[in-house]
Protein backbone atom coordinates (compact mmCIF):
# COMPACT_ATOMS: atom_id res chain seq x y z
CA UNK A 1 0.00 0.00 0.00
CA UNK A 2 2.67 2.43 1.07
CA UNK A 3 4.83 1.42 -1.84
CA UNK A 4 2.02 1.75 -4.36
CA UNK A 5 1.13 5.18 -3.10
CA UNK A 6 4.74 6.34 -3.28
CA UNK A 7 5.15 4.95 -6.79
CA UNK A 8 1.95 6.53 -8.05
CA UNK A 9 3.03 9.88 -6.61
CA UNK A 10 6.42 9.43 -8.26
CA UNK A 11 5.04 8.78 -11.72
CA UNK A 12 2.52 11.59 -11.39
CA UNK A 13 5.44 13.86 -10.59
CA UNK A 14 7.45 12.60 -13.55
CA UNK A 15 4.51 13.15 -15.89
CA UNK A 16 3.75 16.58 -14.54
CA UNK A 17 7.38 17.67 -15.01
CA UNK A 18 7.87 16.02 -18.36
CA UNK A 19 10.17 18.65 -19.88
CA UNK A 20 12.39 18.76 -16.82
CA UNK A 21 12.41 14.97 -16.70
CA UNK A 22 13.63 14.84 -20.28
CA UNK A 23 16.27 17.46 -19.59
CA UNK A 24 17.59 15.41 -16.69
CA UNK A 25 17.54 12.19 -18.71
CA UNK A 26 19.48 13.76 -21.56
CA UNK A 27 22.13 15.45 -19.45
CA UNK A 28 22.60 12.30 -17.42
CA UNK A 29 22.94 10.26 -20.62
CA UNK A 30 25.46 12.65 -22.18
CA UNK A 31 27.58 13.13 -19.07
CA UNK A 32 27.64 9.43 -18.26
CA UNK A 33 28.52 8.54 -21.85
CA UNK A 34 31.49 10.90 -21.67
CA UNK A 35 32.39 9.54 -18.28
CA UNK A 36 32.22 6.03 -19.74
CA UNK A 37 34.30 7.10 -22.72
CA UNK A 38 36.97 8.40 -20.37
CA UNK A 39 36.99 5.13 -18.47
CA UNK A 40 37.06 3.27 -21.80
CA UNK A 41 40.18 5.12 -22.93
CA UNK A 42 41.79 4.29 -19.63
CA UNK A 43 40.92 0.64 -20.02
CA UNK A 44 42.29 0.80 -23.56
CA UNK A 45 45.58 2.26 -22.31
CA UNK A 46 45.74 -0.44 -19.65
CA UNK A 47 45.21 -3.26 -22.08
CA UNK A 48 47.70 -1.79 -24.55
CA UNK A 49 50.25 -1.39 -21.77
CA UNK A 50 49.74 -5.00 -20.78
CA UNK A 51 50.15 -6.07 -24.37
CA UNK A 52 53.12 -3.92 -25.31
CA UNK A 53 55.17 -3.87 -22.12
CA UNK A 54 55.48 -7.63 -22.49
CA UNK A 55 56.98 -7.13 -25.89
CA UNK A 56 59.14 -4.05 -25.59
CA UNK A 57 62.91 -4.31 -25.54
CA UNK A 58 65.84 -2.10 -24.82
CA UNK A 59 68.09 -1.82 -27.83
CA UNK A 60 71.81 -1.27 -27.38
CA UNK A 61 73.16 -0.14 -30.70
CA UNK A 62 76.85 -0.77 -31.19
CA UNK A 63 79.28 1.53 -32.94
CA UNK A 64 79.58 1.23 -36.70
CA UNK A 65 82.37 2.53 -38.89
CA UNK A 66 80.65 5.84 -39.49
CA UNK A 67 79.36 6.52 -35.96
CA UNK A 68 80.24 9.98 -34.72
CA UNK A 69 79.43 9.96 -30.97
CA UNK A 70 82.45 10.21 -28.58
CA UNK A 71 82.00 6.64 -27.33
CA UNK A 72 82.67 5.47 -30.85
CA UNK A 73 85.96 7.33 -31.31
CA UNK A 74 87.75 4.01 -31.71
CA UNK A 75 85.69 3.18 -34.80
CA UNK A 76 83.51 0.15 -35.36
CA UNK A 77 83.06 -2.15 -32.38
CA UNK A 78 85.49 -5.07 -32.21
CA UNK A 79 84.40 -8.63 -31.44
CA UNK A 80 86.25 -8.40 -28.06
CA UNK A 81 84.34 -5.29 -26.96
CA UNK A 82 81.14 -6.89 -28.13
CA UNK A 83 81.93 -9.92 -25.98
CA UNK A 84 82.60 -7.67 -22.96
CA UNK A 85 79.27 -5.91 -23.42
CA UNK A 86 77.48 -9.22 -23.57
CA UNK A 87 79.22 -10.34 -20.37
CA UNK A 88 78.23 -7.12 -18.64
CA UNK A 89 74.63 -7.68 -19.73
CA UNK A 90 74.75 -11.21 -18.38
CA UNK A 91 75.94 -9.79 -15.06
CA UNK A 92 72.71 -7.81 -14.80
CA UNK A 93 70.50 -10.88 -14.60
CA UNK A 94 67.79 -11.40 -13.36
CA UNK A 95 66.76 -7.88 -14.41
CA UNK A 96 68.02 -8.78 -17.83
CA UNK A 97 65.80 -11.60 -18.92
CA UNK A 98 66.80 -12.29 -22.48
CA UNK A 99 69.66 -11.11 -24.64
CA UNK A 100 69.48 -11.33 -28.36
CA UNK A 101 72.30 -10.28 -30.63
CA UNK A 102 71.22 -8.78 -33.95
CA UNK A 103 73.95 -8.61 -36.58
CA UNK A 104 74.19 -6.05 -39.38
CA UNK A 105 72.87 -8.68 -41.81
CA UNK A 106 69.81 -9.48 -39.65
CA UNK A 107 69.12 -5.79 -39.12
CA UNK A 108 69.25 -5.35 -42.88
CA UNK A 109 66.82 -8.20 -43.50
CA UNK A 110 64.40 -6.78 -40.95
CA UNK A 111 64.76 -3.36 -42.52
CA UNK A 112 63.96 -4.79 -45.96
CA UNK A 113 60.96 -6.53 -44.49
CA UNK A 114 59.62 -3.42 -42.75
CA UNK A 115 60.08 -1.09 -45.70
CA UNK A 116 59.49 -3.53 -48.51
CA UNK A 117 57.18 -1.16 -50.37
CA UNK A 118 59.41 1.85 -50.04
CA UNK A 119 62.17 3.00 -52.47
CA UNK A 120 64.37 3.84 -49.49
CA UNK A 121 65.66 0.25 -49.42
CA UNK A 122 67.59 0.75 -52.63
CA UNK A 123 70.02 3.17 -50.98
CA UNK A 124 70.72 1.09 -47.91
CA UNK A 125 73.41 -1.54 -47.58
CA UNK A 126 73.81 -3.94 -44.66
CA UNK A 127 76.84 -1.95 -43.55
CA UNK A 128 74.82 1.19 -42.98
CA UNK A 129 72.76 -0.48 -40.26
CA UNK A 130 74.13 -0.89 -36.72
CA UNK A 131 74.50 -4.23 -35.02
CA UNK A 132 72.74 -4.33 -31.66
CA UNK A 133 71.82 -6.23 -28.54
CA UNK A 134 68.10 -6.58 -28.00
CA UNK A 135 67.51 -6.88 -24.29
CA UNK A 136 64.28 -7.89 -22.62
CA UNK A 137 63.90 -6.79 -19.00
CA UNK A 138 62.03 -8.62 -16.28
CA UNK A 139 60.74 -5.22 -15.14
CA UNK A 140 60.36 -2.87 -18.13
CA UNK A 141 60.19 0.19 -15.87
CA UNK A 142 63.83 -0.30 -14.76
CA UNK A 143 65.18 0.92 -18.04
CA UNK A 144 67.35 3.44 -16.19
CA UNK A 145 69.62 0.71 -14.88
CA UNK A 146 70.55 -0.38 -18.39
CA UNK A 147 70.88 3.19 -19.59
CA UNK A 148 73.22 4.08 -16.73
CA UNK A 149 75.39 1.06 -17.39
CA UNK A 150 75.76 1.35 -21.15
CA UNK A 151 75.03 4.93 -22.17
CA UNK A 152 78.39 6.40 -23.20
CA UNK A 153 80.28 3.17 -22.76
CA UNK A 154 83.01 2.81 -25.42
CA UNK A 155 81.64 0.74 -28.29
CA UNK A 156 77.98 1.64 -27.58
CA UNK A 157 76.50 4.23 -29.88
CA UNK A 158 73.07 4.53 -28.34
CA UNK A 159 70.74 2.90 -25.82
CA UNK A 160 67.11 3.09 -26.85
CA UNK A 161 64.07 2.16 -24.80
CA UNK A 162 61.12 1.19 -26.97
CA UNK A 163 58.95 1.81 -23.99
CA UNK A 164 59.65 5.52 -24.22
CA UNK A 165 58.40 5.52 -27.77
CA UNK A 166 55.21 3.87 -26.58
CA UNK A 167 54.90 6.19 -23.62
CA UNK A 168 54.63 9.17 -25.93
CA UNK A 169 51.63 7.48 -27.50
CA UNK A 170 50.16 6.59 -24.13
CA UNK A 171 50.57 10.18 -23.02
CA UNK A 172 48.42 11.21 -25.95
CA UNK A 173 45.75 8.71 -24.95
CA UNK A 174 45.99 9.85 -21.34
CA UNK A 175 45.48 13.41 -22.51
CA UNK A 176 42.34 12.35 -24.33
CA UNK A 177 41.19 10.55 -21.22
CA UNK A 178 41.75 13.64 -19.04
CA UNK A 179 39.76 15.76 -21.49
CA UNK A 180 36.90 13.25 -21.62
CA UNK A 181 36.80 12.93 -17.84
CA UNK A 182 36.99 16.71 -17.28
CA UNK A 183 34.09 17.32 -19.63
CA UNK A 184 32.26 14.44 -17.93
CA UNK A 185 32.82 15.99 -14.48
CA UNK A 186 31.60 19.37 -15.73
CA UNK A 187 28.54 17.70 -17.23
CA UNK A 188 27.87 15.81 -14.01
CA UNK A 189 27.96 19.11 -12.11
CA UNK A 190 25.47 20.50 -14.63
CA UNK A 191 23.36 17.39 -14.13
CA UNK A 192 23.39 17.83 -10.37
CA UNK A 193 22.35 21.48 -10.68
CA UNK A 194 19.59 20.51 -13.07
CA UNK A 195 18.33 17.91 -10.62
CA UNK A 196 18.38 20.54 -7.86
CA UNK A 197 16.22 22.81 -9.99
CA UNK A 198 13.90 20.03 -11.09
CA UNK A 199 13.26 19.02 -7.51
CA UNK A 200 12.73 22.62 -6.52
CA UNK A 201 10.14 23.08 -9.24
CA UNK A 202 8.49 19.77 -8.33
CA UNK A 203 8.40 20.66 -4.63
CA UNK A 204 6.86 24.01 -5.50
CA UNK A 205 4.29 22.44 -7.79
CA UNK A 206 3.29 20.08 -5.01
CA UNK A 207 3.54 22.47 -2.07
CA UNK A 208 -0.16 22.10 -1.20
CA UNK A 209 0.06 18.32 -1.13
CA UNK A 210 3.27 18.51 0.86
CA UNK A 211 1.72 20.98 3.28
CA UNK A 212 -1.22 18.66 3.88
CA UNK A 213 1.03 15.63 4.18
CA UNK A 214 3.03 17.38 6.89
CA UNK A 215 -0.14 18.49 8.63
CA UNK A 216 -1.63 15.02 8.87
CA UNK A 217 1.67 13.58 10.10
CA UNK A 218 3.12 11.86 7.05
CA UNK A 219 6.65 10.71 7.74
CA UNK A 220 9.60 12.39 6.08
CA UNK A 221 10.17 9.18 4.19
CA UNK A 222 6.68 9.31 2.74
CA UNK A 223 7.00 12.98 1.79
CA UNK A 224 10.48 12.83 0.30
CA UNK A 225 10.56 9.41 -1.32
CA UNK A 226 8.51 10.36 -4.40
CA UNK A 227 10.90 13.25 -5.12
CA UNK A 228 13.98 11.10 -4.58
CA UNK A 229 12.53 8.37 -6.78
CA UNK A 230 11.74 10.90 -9.48
CA UNK A 231 15.39 11.92 -9.57
CA UNK A 232 16.51 8.30 -9.42
CA UNK A 233 14.20 7.14 -12.22
CA UNK A 234 15.32 9.95 -14.56
CA UNK A 235 18.95 9.23 -13.74
CA UNK A 236 18.44 5.50 -14.27
CA UNK A 237 16.91 6.06 -17.71
CA UNK A 238 19.79 8.39 -18.62
CA UNK A 239 22.21 5.81 -17.24
CA UNK A 240 20.70 3.06 -19.38
CA UNK A 241 21.13 5.23 -22.47
CA UNK A 242 24.78 5.81 -21.57
CA UNK A 243 25.29 2.09 -20.98
CA UNK A 244 23.76 1.37 -24.39
CA UNK A 245 26.07 3.97 -25.97
CA UNK A 246 29.16 2.38 -24.45
CA UNK A 247 28.09 -1.12 -25.51
CA UNK A 248 27.40 0.21 -29.00
CA UNK A 249 30.86 1.80 -29.08
CA UNK A 250 32.42 -1.55 -28.20
CA UNK A 251 30.38 -3.52 -30.74
CA UNK A 252 30.31 -1.13 -33.68
CA UNK A 253 33.43 0.97 -33.26
CA UNK A 254 36.01 -1.21 -31.55
CA UNK A 255 35.07 -4.73 -32.61
CA UNK A 256 33.95 -3.98 -36.14
CA UNK A 257 36.14 -1.06 -37.20
CA UNK A 258 39.22 -0.62 -35.04
CA UNK A 259 40.15 -4.19 -34.16
CA UNK A 260 40.16 -5.51 -37.77
CA UNK A 261 42.24 -2.56 -39.00
CA UNK A 262 44.80 -2.55 -36.20
CA UNK A 263 45.50 -6.20 -35.56
CA UNK A 264 48.94 -5.65 -34.07
CA UNK A 265 47.53 -4.40 -30.79
CA UNK A 266 44.98 -5.35 -28.15
CA UNK A 267 41.71 -3.51 -27.56
CA UNK A 268 39.49 -3.24 -24.50
CA UNK A 269 37.86 -6.55 -23.73
CA UNK A 270 34.30 -7.23 -22.60
CA UNK A 271 35.72 -8.07 -19.17
CA UNK A 272 36.87 -4.48 -18.82
CA UNK A 273 33.60 -3.08 -20.21
CA UNK A 274 31.55 -5.14 -17.76
CA UNK A 275 33.39 -3.35 -14.95
CA UNK A 276 32.78 0.09 -16.46
CA UNK A 277 29.03 -0.27 -17.09
CA UNK A 278 27.81 -0.53 -13.48
CA UNK A 279 30.17 2.27 -12.48
CA UNK A 280 28.64 4.74 -14.91
CA UNK A 281 25.09 3.52 -14.29
CA UNK A 282 25.24 3.96 -10.53
CA UNK A 283 27.30 7.15 -10.63
CA UNK A 284 24.35 8.87 -12.30
CA UNK A 285 21.83 7.58 -9.81
CA UNK A 286 23.98 8.39 -6.79
CA UNK A 287 24.70 11.93 -7.97
CA UNK A 288 21.04 12.58 -8.76
CA UNK A 289 19.88 11.23 -5.41
CA UNK A 290 22.47 13.21 -3.46
CA UNK A 291 21.50 16.40 -5.31
CA UNK A 292 17.81 15.67 -4.72
CA UNK A 293 18.36 14.78 -1.07
CA UNK A 294 20.25 18.00 -0.34
CA UNK A 295 17.59 20.05 -2.12
CA UNK A 296 14.81 18.41 -0.13
CA UNK A 297 16.59 19.10 3.16
CA UNK A 298 16.60 22.72 2.17
CA UNK A 299 13.07 23.00 0.79
CA UNK A 300 10.97 20.47 2.66
CA UNK A 301 11.63 21.12 6.31
CA UNK A 302 9.28 19.57 8.82
Amino acid sequence: MKLRFILSETFQGLRRNLTMTFAVIITVAVSLTLFGAGLLVRAQVDSMKDYWYDRVEVSIFLCGASSSVPACSLGAVTPEVRGQIEQELNALRPLVQEIYYESKEEAYQRFLEQFKDSPVTQNVTPDALPESFRVKLSDPTKYEVIAAAFEGRPGVEQVQDQRQLLDRFFRLLNGLQVIALSVAVAMLVVTALLVVNTIRVAAHARRREVGIMRLVGASNFMIRMPFLLEAAVSAAIGGLIAVAAIVAAKVFLIDEVLAPSYQFTAFVSWDQIIVILPIIFFTGIVIAMIAAGLTLRRYLKV
Partner: protein
Protein backbone atom coordinates in the same frame (compact mmCIF):
# COMPACT_ATOMS: atom_id res chain seq x y z
CA UNK B 1 -4.56 16.85 26.98
CA UNK B 2 -2.77 20.17 26.44
CA UNK B 3 -0.71 21.99 29.02
CA UNK B 4 1.02 25.34 28.55
CA UNK B 5 3.59 26.12 31.25
CA UNK B 6 4.63 29.76 31.26
CA UNK B 7 4.94 29.78 27.48
CA UNK B 8 6.42 32.79 25.72
CA UNK B 9 6.93 32.96 21.99
CA UNK B 10 8.98 35.68 20.36
CA UNK B 11 9.37 35.78 16.60
CA UNK B 12 12.05 38.46 16.81
CA UNK B 13 13.79 40.39 19.55
CA UNK B 14 12.53 43.88 18.82
CA UNK B 15 8.77 43.41 18.78
CA UNK B 16 6.59 42.36 21.67
CA UNK B 17 6.23 38.61 22.05
CA UNK B 18 3.39 36.93 20.12
CA UNK B 19 2.53 35.07 23.31
CA UNK B 20 3.64 36.08 26.76
CA UNK B 21 3.80 33.88 29.83
CA UNK B 22 0.78 31.72 29.04
CA UNK B 23 -0.13 28.94 31.48
CA UNK B 24 -3.17 26.82 30.80
CA UNK B 25 -4.58 23.32 31.08
CA UNK B 26 -7.02 21.69 28.68
CA UNK B 27 -8.56 18.41 29.80
CA UNK B 28 -9.35 15.53 27.44
CA UNK B 29 -12.81 15.89 25.99
CA UNK B 30 -13.06 19.65 26.54
CA UNK B 31 -14.34 22.13 23.97
CA UNK B 32 -12.36 25.36 24.20
CA UNK B 33 -12.74 28.61 22.29
CA UNK B 34 -9.66 30.70 21.82
CA UNK B 35 -10.81 34.24 21.17
CA UNK B 36 -9.20 37.60 20.60
CA UNK B 37 -8.61 40.19 17.91
CA UNK B 38 -6.42 39.53 14.91
CA UNK B 39 -2.78 39.46 15.98
CA UNK B 40 -3.66 38.58 19.58
CA UNK B 41 -1.70 35.31 19.32
CA UNK B 42 -4.44 32.74 18.56
CA UNK B 43 -2.72 31.30 15.52
CA UNK B 44 0.64 31.19 17.27
CA UNK B 45 -1.05 29.29 20.09
CA UNK B 46 -2.23 26.63 17.63
CA UNK B 47 1.08 26.57 15.76
CA UNK B 48 2.90 25.79 19.00
CA UNK B 49 0.65 22.77 19.56
CA UNK B 50 1.20 21.60 15.98
CA UNK B 51 4.92 22.17 16.39
CA UNK B 52 4.96 24.48 13.43
CA UNK B 53 6.73 26.76 15.89
CA UNK B 54 8.62 26.19 19.12
CA UNK B 55 8.13 28.15 22.32
CA UNK B 56 10.93 30.59 23.10
CA UNK B 57 10.59 29.80 26.81
CA UNK B 58 8.27 27.54 28.78
CA UNK B 59 6.86 24.16 27.85
CA UNK B 60 3.99 23.00 25.67
CA UNK B 61 2.87 19.50 26.61
CA UNK B 62 0.44 17.57 24.40
CA UNK B 63 -0.69 14.07 25.40
CA UNK B 64 2.25 13.84 27.79
CA UNK B 65 4.79 14.84 25.18
CA UNK B 66 6.94 17.94 25.52
CA UNK B 67 6.32 19.29 22.04
CA UNK B 68 9.27 21.67 21.96
CA UNK B 69 11.74 18.95 22.89
CA UNK B 70 10.43 16.43 20.40
CA UNK B 71 13.08 15.36 17.95
CA UNK B 72 12.32 16.18 14.36
CA UNK B 73 11.59 12.64 13.27
CA UNK B 74 8.96 12.26 16.01
CA UNK B 75 7.00 15.30 14.88
CA UNK B 76 4.92 13.35 12.31
CA UNK B 77 3.85 11.01 15.10
CA UNK B 78 2.72 13.97 17.18
CA UNK B 79 0.69 15.36 14.29
CA UNK B 80 -1.03 12.03 13.69
CA UNK B 81 -2.60 12.52 17.11
CA UNK B 82 -4.34 15.74 16.06
CA UNK B 83 -6.54 16.94 13.24
CA UNK B 84 -6.38 20.50 11.99
CA UNK B 85 -8.91 22.62 10.12
CA UNK B 86 -8.32 26.08 8.68
CA UNK B 87 -10.24 29.06 7.44
CA UNK B 88 -9.14 28.40 3.83
CA UNK B 89 -10.07 24.66 3.86
CA UNK B 90 -6.78 23.62 2.18
CA UNK B 91 -8.30 20.94 -0.04
CA UNK B 92 -6.52 19.49 -3.07
CA UNK B 93 -8.44 20.80 -6.07
CA UNK B 94 -7.37 17.97 -8.36
CA UNK B 95 -8.78 15.28 -6.07
CA UNK B 96 -12.38 14.35 -5.38
CA UNK B 97 -13.95 14.63 -1.96
CA UNK B 98 -13.30 10.93 -1.41
CA UNK B 99 -9.68 11.19 -2.55
CA UNK B 100 -9.05 14.25 -0.39
CA UNK B 101 -10.14 12.38 2.70
CA UNK B 102 -8.42 9.14 1.65
CA UNK B 103 -5.18 11.09 1.12
CA UNK B 104 -4.68 11.39 4.89
CA UNK B 105 -4.86 7.65 5.36
CA UNK B 106 -2.75 6.94 2.28
CA UNK B 107 0.15 9.10 3.41
CA UNK B 108 -0.01 7.35 6.76
CA UNK B 109 0.39 4.05 4.92
CA UNK B 110 -2.99 2.56 5.87
CA UNK B 111 -4.32 -0.51 4.12
CA UNK B 112 -6.76 -0.13 1.24
CA UNK B 113 -9.48 -2.12 3.01
CA UNK B 114 -9.28 0.21 5.98
CA UNK B 115 -9.40 3.31 3.76
CA UNK B 116 -12.44 2.01 1.88
CA UNK B 117 -14.24 1.50 5.17
CA UNK B 118 -13.16 4.65 7.05
CA UNK B 119 -13.64 7.28 4.33
CA UNK B 120 -17.36 6.72 3.59
CA UNK B 121 -17.97 6.43 7.32
CA UNK B 122 -16.49 9.83 8.13
CA UNK B 123 -18.09 11.44 5.06
CA UNK B 124 -21.40 10.14 6.32
CA UNK B 125 -20.65 11.71 9.71
CA UNK B 126 -20.11 15.15 8.13
CA UNK B 127 -23.15 14.71 5.89
CA UNK B 128 -21.45 14.42 2.51
CA UNK B 129 -22.02 10.74 1.79
CA UNK B 130 -23.79 11.65 -1.45
CA UNK B 131 -21.05 13.96 -2.73
CA UNK B 132 -17.99 11.72 -2.49
CA UNK B 133 -17.16 11.93 -6.19
CA UNK B 134 -17.48 15.73 -6.47
CA UNK B 135 -14.47 17.99 -6.79
CA UNK B 136 -13.94 20.79 -4.26
CA UNK B 137 -14.81 23.55 -6.76
CA UNK B 138 -18.24 21.93 -7.20
CA UNK B 139 -19.01 22.36 -3.50
CA UNK B 140 -20.18 25.30 -1.41
CA UNK B 141 -17.86 26.80 1.19
CA UNK B 142 -19.65 25.03 4.01
CA UNK B 143 -19.40 21.71 2.21
CA UNK B 144 -15.70 22.25 1.54
CA UNK B 145 -15.14 22.92 5.23
CA UNK B 146 -16.99 19.69 6.03
CA UNK B 147 -14.61 17.84 3.73
CA UNK B 148 -11.68 19.45 5.55
CA UNK B 149 -13.16 18.37 8.88
CA UNK B 150 -13.68 14.85 7.54
CA UNK B 151 -10.05 14.77 6.45
CA UNK B 152 -8.87 16.00 9.85
CA UNK B 153 -11.05 13.51 11.69
CA UNK B 154 -10.84 10.38 9.50
CA UNK B 155 -7.87 9.17 11.50
CA UNK B 156 -9.94 9.65 14.72
CA UNK B 157 -7.37 11.83 16.50
CA UNK B 158 -8.07 12.61 20.16
CA UNK B 159 -7.52 16.33 19.47
CA UNK B 160 -9.01 18.61 16.82
CA UNK B 161 -7.57 22.08 16.22
CA UNK B 162 -9.64 24.59 14.26
CA UNK B 163 -8.27 27.96 13.20
CA UNK B 164 -11.20 30.25 12.28
CA UNK B 165 -13.10 27.40 10.63
CA UNK B 166 -16.14 29.61 10.07
CA UNK B 167 -14.15 32.67 8.98
CA UNK B 168 -15.17 32.32 5.34
CA UNK B 169 -18.72 31.15 5.90
CA UNK B 170 -22.07 32.87 6.32
CA UNK B 171 -23.77 32.62 9.74
CA UNK B 172 -26.27 29.90 8.78
CA UNK B 173 -23.55 27.69 7.34
CA UNK B 174 -21.39 28.40 10.36
CA UNK B 175 -24.05 27.03 12.65
CA UNK B 176 -23.96 23.76 10.72
CA UNK B 177 -20.19 23.56 11.06
CA UNK B 178 -20.43 24.27 14.79
CA UNK B 179 -23.01 21.50 15.21
CA UNK B 180 -20.62 19.16 13.48
CA UNK B 181 -17.70 20.17 15.72
CA UNK B 182 -19.95 19.78 18.73
CA UNK B 183 -20.89 16.27 17.60
CA UNK B 184 -17.21 15.39 17.19
CA UNK B 185 -16.58 16.77 20.68
CA UNK B 186 -19.37 14.67 22.16
CA UNK B 187 -17.71 11.43 21.08
CA UNK B 188 -14.74 12.37 23.27
CA UNK B 189 -12.56 14.43 20.99
CA UNK B 190 -10.92 17.46 22.52
CA UNK B 191 -11.69 20.49 20.35
CA UNK B 192 -9.71 23.72 20.43
CA UNK B 193 -11.10 26.40 18.18
CA UNK B 194 -9.66 29.83 17.50
CA UNK B 195 -12.31 32.30 16.37
CA UNK B 196 -13.52 35.86 16.55
CA UNK B 197 -17.08 34.96 15.68
CA UNK B 198 -18.87 36.34 18.74
CA UNK B 199 -22.29 34.93 17.88
CA UNK B 200 -20.98 31.39 17.79
CA UNK B 201 -19.08 31.67 21.04
CA UNK B 202 -22.06 33.16 22.82
CA UNK B 203 -24.37 30.48 21.53
CA UNK B 204 -22.22 27.49 22.43
CA UNK B 205 -21.48 28.42 26.02
CA UNK B 206 -18.21 26.55 26.22
CA UNK B 207 -14.93 27.36 27.92
CA UNK B 208 -13.46 30.60 26.54
CA UNK B 209 -9.82 31.61 26.67
CA UNK B 210 -9.22 35.18 25.56
CA UNK B 211 -5.93 36.51 24.31
CA UNK B 212 -5.04 40.15 23.94
CA UNK B 213 -1.71 41.29 22.53
CA UNK B 214 -0.15 37.98 23.44
CA UNK B 215 -1.43 37.86 27.01
CA UNK B 216 -4.13 35.66 28.42
CA UNK B 217 -6.71 38.03 29.89
CA UNK B 218 -9.57 35.60 30.54
CA UNK B 219 -10.25 31.90 31.05
CA UNK B 220 -13.87 31.17 31.75
CA UNK B 221 -15.82 27.94 31.83
CA UNK B 222 -19.09 28.45 29.94
CA UNK B 223 -18.03 31.90 28.77
CA UNK B 224 -19.13 34.32 26.09
CA UNK B 225 -17.14 36.24 23.52
CA UNK B 226 -16.61 39.53 25.33
CA UNK B 227 -18.05 41.78 28.04
CA UNK B 228 -20.15 43.68 25.48
CA UNK B 229 -21.99 40.57 24.51
CA UNK B 230 -22.94 39.45 28.00
CA UNK B 231 -26.70 39.00 28.16
Amino acid sequence: MITFERVTKRYDKRNRPALQDISLDIQPGEFVFLVGASGSGKSTFLRLILREERATTGRVIVSGRDVGRLSRWKVPQLRRGMGAVFQDFRLLQSKTVYQNVAFTLQVLGRKNAQIERAVPEVLDLVGLADKMQRYPHQLSGGEQQRVAIARAFVNRPPLLLADEPTGNLDPATSVGIMKLLDRINRVGTTVLMATHDAAIVDQMRKRVVELDAGQMIRDEARGVYGQDHQP
